[in-house]
C-alpha cells in the first residue's frame, strides 16, 4: 500500500509540473504576440525612441522569445519573478500584498457554497417535486444563469437602498487600523490580535462579494447534489437500511450524503477555475484590491512579469484545489483508493 501511495504522489507531481510548464510557455508567448509595446506603455507617449529602446534592452525584450523565456524561468525558479512595470516593485512583493485578499474571498466563497448548496441539494432531493424542491430548483437555476457581476452590482444597489450603513467597498474600514500579519487573511489576523471589532467589520465587508461570487457555484452544486441523491435514493442499499428500521435521518444524512458527495466534490474542483475567473470581475466591482484586480491591471497595461505571475499562481491554485478534491474523494470512497493505486 505504501509504495502505491508514493507512486501515486510521484505521478501526480510529474503531471502538475508538466501542466505548469505548458501553461507558462503558452502565456509567455501569447503575451508577447499581442500588439502593444510594454516599454512604450510604461514610459508614456512623451518618452523618446532612445529611452524606449533602452528600457526594452533592460527588460530583455530585444532578445528572441525563447531566450527571454529561458531567462525568465531561470529567475522564477530562484524565486525572482521580475519587476512590475506598473507598481515598480518586485512582482513577488506585490503578490504577497494582494494574494491574501483574494485567498480570503475565495475560501469564504467555497465555504459558503458548501454550507448552502449541500443541505439545499439534500432537501430538494428528499422532497422531490414538492414546493421545497421547486423553490430550490428555481434558486439554483437563477444562480447558474445570472453572471456574477450582475449579482455584484445588484447586491450593491440593494445595500445602497435598504442598508445604507452596510459597507460595499474594500476589505475593511481603514479607520479601524486593522492589524498586520501574520497570515494576511483579515479574519484570522484580527482574531490573532484579539481585535473582534475588525473581525466583524471584515466579515461585513466579505458578505456581499462572497455571496455574489458563490451564486454560480451554489446553483451548480445544489443541482449536482440533488441529482446524485435522487439517483442513490433508489438504490437497494437504501431499502436494506429502511427494511431494518434504521431512521430516515441516518439513512439520508449519513449513508446517502457521503455516497452522494462524490459528484459535487468533483464538480467543485472544476468549478474552481470559473471561481477564479469570476473573482476578477467581482473584485473590481467591490474595489477589493486583491490579486485579481492586480491581474486585470497587468493585462490592460501589458505588465508582462505581473501577468505571468498572476496566471501561474491562478493555475497553481486550480491544480492544488483539485489535488485536495482528489484527496477528499479517496478518503470518501475506498474503491478510488484501490483504483488510484492501480491506474
Amino acid at each position: 500500500m505504501g509504495r502505491q501511495i508514493i507512486e501515486g504522489i510521484l505521478r501526480r507531481t510529474a503531471s502538475v509540473l508538466l501542466v505548469l510548464f505548458v501553461l507558462s510557455l503558452m502565456i509567455f508567448v501569447l503575451a508577447r504576440v499581442v500588439p502593444g509595446d510594454p516599454a512604450r506603455m510604461a514610459l508614456g507617449p512623451s518618452a523618446t525612441a532612445e529611452q524606449v529602446a533602452e528600457l526594452q534592452a533592460e527588460m530583455g525584450l530585444d532578445q528572441p522569445v525563447i531566450v527571454q523565456y529561458g531567462r525568465y524561468m531561470g529567475n522564477a525558479l530562484r524565486g525572482d519573478l521580475g519587476q512590475s512595470l506598473v507598481t515598480n516593485r518586485p512582482v513577488t512583493d506585490d503578490i504577497a500584498d494582494f494574494l491574501p485578499a483574494t485567498l480570503e474571498l475565495v475560501l469564504v466563497t467555497v465555504v459558503l457554497v458548501f454550507v448552502i448548496s449541500v443541505p439545499l441539494g439534500v432537501l430538494t432531493a428528499r422532497y422531490r417535486d414538492r414546493w421545497v424542491d421547486n423553490v430550490g430548483r428555481f434558486f439554483s437555476l437563477f444562480g447558474v444563469t445570472i453572471p456574477s457581476f450582475l449579482f455584484a452590482v445588484g447586491l450593491q444597489l440593494l445595500a445602497g437602498s435598504f442598508f445604507p450603513d452596510w459597507p460595499i467597498l474594500g476589505r475593511v474600514d481603514y479607520q479601524l487600523n486593522a492589524p498586520d500579519g501574520p497570515t494576511g487573511l483579515l479574519l484570522i489576523d484580527s482574531l490573532a490580535h484579539g481585535r473582534f471589532d475588525v473581525f466583524v467589520d471584515a466579515l461585513q465587508h466579505l458578505a456581499f462579494p462572497a455571496l455574489a461570487l458563490a451564486m454560480a457555484g451554489i446553483g451548480q452544486i445544489t443541482r449536482i447534489t440533488r441529482s446524485a441523491m435522487i439517483e442513490n435514493l433508489r438504490k437497494d442499499h437504501v431499502l436494506t437500511l429502511r427494511s431494518f428500521g434504521v431512521p430516515e435521518r441516518v439513512v439520508v444524512f449519513r449513508y446517502l450524503l457521503k455516497l452522494s458527495s462524490i459528484a459535487p466534490l468533483t464538480i467543485m474542483g472544476l468549478e474552481f477555475a470559473s471561481l477564479i475567473g469570476n473573482a476578477f470581475v467581482v473584485e473590481m466591482v467591490f474595489g477589493w484590491g486583491g490579486f485579481a484586480s492586480y491581474g486585470l491591471t497587468a493585462i490592460l497595461q501589458k505588465d508582462l512579469n505581473a501577468l505571468m505571475a498572476v496566471v501561474l499562481i491562478s493555475g497553481l491554485f486550480f491544480i492544488f484545489a483539485n489535488l485536495l478534491v482528489d484527496l477528499a474523494l479517496s478518503l470518501i470512497d475506498p474503491r478510488l483508493r484501490l483504483r488510484g493505486a492501480k491506474a
Binding site: 507512486e7 510521484l10 505521478r11 438504490k235 437497494d236 442499499h237 431499502l239 436494506t240 437500511l241 429502511r242 427494511s243 431494518f244 428500521g245 434504521v246 431512521p247 441516518v250 449519513r254 449513508y255 457521503k258 455516497l259 462524490i262 470518501i332 470512497d333 475506498p334 474503491r335 484501490l338 492501480k342
Partner: protein
C-alpha cells in the same frame, strides 16, 4: 393460530394521474416454523406483498383494504413507531441482490452496527459498542463466515457475492426474528453458491425454529425450501397448497405452464440436440489470454484469464460454454468474435487462420434492458447494422423482414424499448444480431434476465431460426439445465481451462470431472426423481473445486464479467 395472517389484501399504486391495482384480494397465512414459498414472475406482486408485511411500501402505494396480522397483532393499526419496532425483531428480510444491497462507501460492520444500534434503541435496550460487536461477530459466524472479524472490517467490494449474501442473512438474523422473508436470495449468484445459500437458510430455519416466506421465481428453489406453495400471477393468488400437491398435480393452467417451462435435467422430457457432422466454422487451438497489468516503473505480471483452449465449433451446431463467473467463458467468446486477440494460440475460421470470426459473427447480450439504447426506437436500433449491409432503399423492407423473423408485429418498429416487455426486447436484440446476416451468433446468457415462461419462447425461437437460416450458435451460460436441452455439445470451464467437453448426454450421464459433478448437483430440480439422478459430490471435492464463499476475502468485484 398462524404466525402471519394476510387477509383480503388490496394494494394499488398511483402515478402520473393513474391508479393501478397490483394486489387483488390476497389472503394467505404462514404458520409457526412453517416454510411457505410465494412463486411468481416479474410484476406478479410478490415483492409488493413482502414490502407490505415489512412496512417498506413506496410512497405512491396505498393499502385499499385488507389486514395483515402478525402473531395476532394487526399491523395496519399500529403506529409508525410500533411498526418500526417490529422490523428485524418480529420478522426480517433477506435482501435479494448481495452486490447492490450495501452502501459501497461504508464498511460491512458499520451497516450491521447501525442496524443493531437503532433496533436496540427502539426496544429500549442500552448496548455498548463492544457488546454489539460481540453479538454481530457471533451472528456472522452463524452464517458460516469463518473469519468474522475480517468480514466486519471489510468494505463491501472486498467480499465475494456469496459472502455478501451471507452477511445479508446475518443482518436478517441479528435480532432473532421469528419469521424470515427471503426475496429471491442468491438469484444473482452462481448456481453452486446459490445452492450453498439455500442450504444455509434451510439449516438456520430448522435450527432456530423460524418461519420462512420464500419469494422466488425459481421452481427448483421452491422444492428445496418450502412445505407449502402459493402461486401468484398479476397480483392474484391462483393456486395454493402443500408442495407435493401443487408440484405433482397442479390445478391451475398457469402453474402447469410454469412447470412445463422449466427445462428438465434428467428423465423422458429431456431433448437431445442432433450433433452436426459438418466441417468446423471456428477452430481454437491452444488459445491463451493474459491480461497484463502495467505499473509505473515496471510491467507487472499479468492475469491468466484463459489457457490452453481447444475448441472446434462445427457449422450448424449449438456449442455451449458453461462455467461460473470469472471462469473465462466471456473472454473465449470475445476472442471467437475477434474482439480480443489471443496472447498465444491459433484461431481459424472455416479452416483459414484469422483473428476471429469478426465479419461472420454477432452477439446477443444477457440483459436486453441495458443492451438496447433506451433513446432509440426499434427501427433506429436496427438501422445501425443495416447501414453497413443494405442499400438505403432496401432497409425498410429488411427491417420488416427481421421483425417477422423474430415473431414481432411490424408496427413495433416505431416503439421504444420501455414500451416492450423483457421477452420482446430480447427478440429485438436477436433481430439486431440477425441484421448483418451472420453465420455465427454468440449468445451471452440470452435468457437469464427473463422469466421462465418467456425463456422457453425465446429458446424455441432461437432453435427455429437456426433451422431456417442455417445458423451456428455459441451459447455462454451457467444454467446447465438450459444447456442440457439446448446444446449439441458443451464445454465446462473452470478457472480459464476447459475441464470437460462432449455432448450433453455424455457429460450428464457420465460426468468425469468432479467440478462438473458439483455444478450439476447444485442445480435446483423439480422432482425427487431428478434429484436422485444427480451426481453426488464429496465434501473434499466441494472444498477443492468450488469457490470457498465462507472463508476467503476475494479479489474486488467488477473484474469478473
Amino acid at each position: 393460530m398462524a404466525l402471519l395472517d394476510v387477509k383480503g389484501l388490496n394494494i394499488s399504486f398511483s402515478g402520473y394521474g393513474q391508479t393501478r391495482q397490483v394486489l387483488h384480494d390476497v389472503s394467505f397465512s404462514v404458520g409457526k416454523s412453517e416454510r411457505v414459498a410465494l412463486i411468481g414472475e416479474t410484476g406478479s406482486g410478490k415483492s409488493v406483498t413482502a414490502k407490505a408485511i415489512l412496512g417498506t411500501l413506496p410512497g405512491n402505494a396505498s393499502v385499499d383494504s385488507g389486514a395483515i396480522a402478525f402473531d395476532g397483532l394487526d399491523l395496519f393499526r399500529q403506529s409508525m413507531a410500533e411498526r418500526e419496532k417490529l422490523k428485524g425483531t418480529a420478522f426480517s428480510i433477506i435482501m435479494q441482490d448481495p452486490l447492490s444491497s450495501f452502501n459501497p462507501v461504508f464498511r460491512i460492520g458499520q451497516h450491521l452496527d447501525d442496524v443493531m444500534y437503532h433496533a436496540d434503541r427502539r426496544r429500549g435496550v442500552v448496548s455498548s459498542a463492544r457488546e454489539r460487536k460481540a453479538r454481530i461477530l457471533d451472528t456472522l459466524r452463524k452464517v458460516q463466515l469463518a473469519d468474522a472479524q475480517r468480514v466486519y472490517d471489510a468494505w463491501p467490494f472486498e467480499l465475494s457475492g456469496g459472502m455478501r449474501q451471507r452477511v445479508l442473512i446475518a443482518l436478517a438474523l441479528l435480532h432473532r426474528p421469528r419469521m424470515l422473508i427471503a426475496d429471491e436470495p442468491g438469484t444473482a449468484l452462481d448456481v453452486t453458491t446459490q445452492d450453498e445459500i439455500l442450504r444455509l437458510i434451510n439449516r438456520l430455519v430448522d435450527d432456530e425454529g423460524l418461519s420462512l416466506l420464500m419469494i422466488t421465481h425459481n421452481l427448483g428453489v421452491v422444492r428445496q425450501t418450502a412445505d407449502r406453495v402459493l402461486v401468484m400471477r398479476h397480483g392474484v393468488i391462483v393456486e395454493q397448497g402443500p408442495l407435493a400437491q401443487v408440484f405433482d398435480a397442479p390445478q391451475d393452467q398457469y402453474t402447469r405452464d410454469l412447470m412445463a417451462a422449466v427445462p428438465p435435467l434428467y428423465g423422458p422430457g429431456v431433448t437431445d440436440q442432433p450433433v452436426s457432422d459438418m466441417p468446423p466454422i471456428l477452430t481454437l487451438t491452444g488459445v491463451q489470454k493474459v491480461y497484463s497489468k502495467r505499473g509505473l516503473f515496471k510491467t507487472g505480471e499479468g492475469h491468466l484469464a484463459v489457457d490452453d483452449i481447444n475448441i472446434k465449433v462445427a457449422h450448424g451446431e449449438i456449442f455451449g460454454l458453461a462455467g461460473e463467473s470469472g471462469s473465462g467463458k466471456t473472454t473465449v467468446a470475445r476472442m471467437m468474435m475477434g474482439l480480443l486477440e489471443p496472447t498465444k494460440g491459433k484461431i481459424a475460421v472455416n479452416g483459414t487462420p484469422a483473428t476471429g470470426a469478426r465479419r461472420l459473427s454477432q452477439i446477443v447480450y444477457q440483459n436486453p434492458g441495458t443492451s438496447l439504447n433506451p433513446k432509440r426506437t426499434v427501427a433506429q436500433t436496427l438501422a445501425v447494422p443495416l447501414a453497413h449491409t443494405e442499400a438505403a432503399a432496401d432497409r425498410q423492407a429488411r427491417m420488416e423482414e427481421l421483425l417477422t423473423l423474430v415473431r414481432l408485429p411490424v408496427s413495433f418498429l416505431s416503439k421504444y424499448p420501455h414500451e416492450l416487455s423483457g421477452g420482446q426486447k430480447q427478440r429485438v436484440a436477436i433481430a439486431r444480431a440477425l441484421a448483418a446476416k451472420p453465420r455465427l451468433i454468440i449468445l451471452d446468457e440470452p435468457t437469464s434476465a427473463l422469466d421462465v415462461s418467456v425463456q422457453k419462447t425465446v429458446i424455441d425461437l432461437l432453435l427455429e431460426l437456426r433451422e431456417s437460416l442455417g445458423l451456428t450458435y455459441v451459447i455462454i451460460s451457467h444454467d446447465l439445465s438450459l444447456m442440457r436441452n439446448f446444446c449439441s455439445r458443451i464445454a465446462i470451464m473452470l478457472k480459464g481451462r476447459i475441464v470437460e467437453q462432449g455432448t450433453p448426454a455424455e457429460v450428464f450421464a457420465e460426468t468425469r470431472h468432479p467440478y462438473t459433478r458439483a455444478l450439476i448437483s447444485a442445480i435446483p430440480v423439480l422432482t425427487e426423481a431428478e434429484q436422485a439422478q444427480k451426481p453426488t459430490v464429496t465434501e473434499e471435492e466441494r472444498a477443492k473445486f468450488l469457490v470457498p464463499t465462507g472463508a476467503e476475502v476475494s479479489a474486488p468485484a467488477g473484474a469478473a464479467e
